[in-house]
């Protein structure tokens, strides 16, 4: 399968820096990480989500199939709602984290960045009669808006009424005579929206949106996600790591009777987890994944993923520790540096105290 590239790359700001995330080439930065982060946390940022595949499930058995492959319950997901769910392998490990968009006669699955090929392969491996699995990525572009004033951009760009939609609502709308699918769903803790636009109109919408919002690349978005403990699967899931160890049990509906990976998840819920994930901050050096966590020289765990947090002005990351030590408020040593474990969210989004007016 061809790697994804942005359909609006030609109109990205000059000087954008690109990188490869799994099967997608994405803009890591359009300007500077500081400026883009500041837009997400203080104003409004525009995201090019072209690294996320759009997969349609259609046919008479589409909902039953979705119930089988999604870890959350979508039986009553209407055409006005979307939700986030994990997709699991039989052994309970995470294949992807998707946003499921309800449609009248189908469901759209939005993969996480770069994970679309893996998702498609997994879906096709579990395919059943009566369901069609279609990659619609080439027909659309997906853009996001995130920030405490993203609602204002929605008003100026499309329709002010859409800004105050309830969380995880979606609406068929129009922009400049073009049919678009609009959703209120975000990942940074700030007000978040997404627009799925036909590819032929994507450049025009992106260019217009740039008049109102600062483009933010993958680095700034993933930093803001980590700060509110929004999972980034490719950093957090690993060999033999189950959803509880990852801290993503909330993206699984264990009360659902059946789904791929359920037996493993139930075993994990009923068993004794060997490790849990907890956030930490401290020190200027960003520790690499796998860096040992010690107390009094004794190894108790390791670093899962870490970055430099602009909001906290220090390193910020996740540790995997024994369950009886996975708690906020502990001082432990990472490499040679003392760090403190944290309560989530690690940065309080400004949107939580900014009303939509």
């Amino acid at each position: 399968m061809e790697p994804l590239t942005s359909p609006v790359k030609a109109v990205h700001p000059e000087g954008a820096v690109y990188g490869t995330v799994l099967d997608a080439e994405v803009a890591l930065r359009f300007s500077t990480l500081d400026a883009e982060y500041e837009a997400i946390r203080e104003r409004a940022a525009l995201l090019d989500l072209s690294g996320e595949r759009i997969v349609e499930l259609s046919g008479g058995a589409a909902v039953d199939f979705a119930q089988k492959v999604l870890a959350r319950d979508v039986e009553y997901l209407t055409a006005e709602r979307c939700m986030t769910s994990l997709v699991l392998a039989e052994d309970g490990t995470v294949v992807d984290q998707v946003v499921v968009w309800g449609r009248e006669d189908s469901l759209l699955l939005e993969s996480s960045t770069g994970a679309g090929t893996r998702l498609l392969e997994h879906l096709r491996a579990h395919a059943e009669p009566g369901v069609e699995i279609t990659d619609r990525t080439a027909e659309y572009a997906l853009f996001g808006l995130e920030g405490p004033y993203a609602w204002g951009v929605v008003g100026r760009l499309i329709d002010g009424e859409l800004a105050s939609l309830p969380f995880e609502s979606i609406v068929d709308s129009q922009w400049d005579g073009v049919d678009v699918l609009f959703g209120r769903t975000g990942v940074t803790g700030e007000y978040g929206y997404k627009v799925l636009v036909p590819r032929e109109s994507a450049e025009r919408l992106w260019t217009k949106a740039l008049e109102h919002a600062v483009p933010a690349g993958q680095d700034a978005v993933e930093l803001a996600m980590l700060e509110v403990r929004q999972p980034v699967v490719r950093h957090e899931a690993g060999e033999g790591v189950d959803v509880l160890e990852m801290g993503a049990g909330w993206l699984v509906d264990i009360t659902k009777d059946e789904f791929v990976g359920r037996d493993a998840v139930v075993a994990a819920f009923e068993g004794t987890a060997e490790r849990r994930t907890v956030g930490f901050s401290g020190g200027a050096e960003v520790p690499a994944p796998g860096t040992p966590v010690t107390v009094g020289g004794e190894k108790i765990g390791e670093v899962v993923h870490a970055v430099h947090s602009i909001g906290l002005k220090s390193s910020l990351g996740l540790l995997r520790l024994p369950p009886d030590l996975a708690a906020a408020g502990l001082t432990v040593t990472v490499g040679d540096t003392e760090v403190v474990t944290l309560t989530s969210p690690y940065v309080t989004p400004k949107s939580w105290s900014t009303p939509i007016i």
């Binding site: 986030t84 969380f167 995880e168 509110v228 403990r229 929004q230 509880l244 801290g247 049990g249 909330w250 264990i254 009360t255 819920f269 994930t277 907890v278 956030g279 107390v295 009094g296 004794e298 108790i300 009886d324 030590l325 996975a326 708690a327 906020a328 408020g329 502990l330 001082t331 432990v332 003392e338 403190v340 944290l342 309560t343 989530s344 969210p345 309080t348 939580w352 105290s353």
Partner: protein, 101 residues
């Protein structure tokens, strides 16, 4: 601080978090086991998907259970179970700010 002292500190937080999870499940009549909720799980929007009516119920429940009135607090109090624990048990918040050492 020794490993045992850290375990004791962690246990204190886990105890308060467990109390909060039981309270949430019981007061809001959620069809899940309290232990299924993780300490870092968001409570509103994504996560446990509670809404503003649930907040009102939780204000009352928290005051009854912990003797703490949070009515004038901002929404960040409900950022996660662990964050809520900081507010209903101030000793935990002090540890979270300074580390346990």
């Amino acid at each position: 601080m020794t490993l045992d002292e850290l375990r004791a500190t962690a246990a204190a937080r886990h105890e308060t978090c467990t109390q909060i999870k039981k309270m949430i499940v019981s007061r809001l009549d959620l069809p899940i086991e309290p232990a299924w909720i993780t300490d870092d799980q968001p409570l509103f929007g994504r996560g446990l998907e509670l809404d503003s009516l649930d907040v009102l119920e939780l204000y009352v429940a928290i005051e009854a259970e912990f003797g703490v009135a949070l009515y004038d607090s901002d929404m960040s109090v409900f950022g996660s179970v662990s964050r809520l624990a900081d507010h209903v048990n101030p000793a935990l918040a002090e540890q979270a700010q300074t580390g346990s050492a």
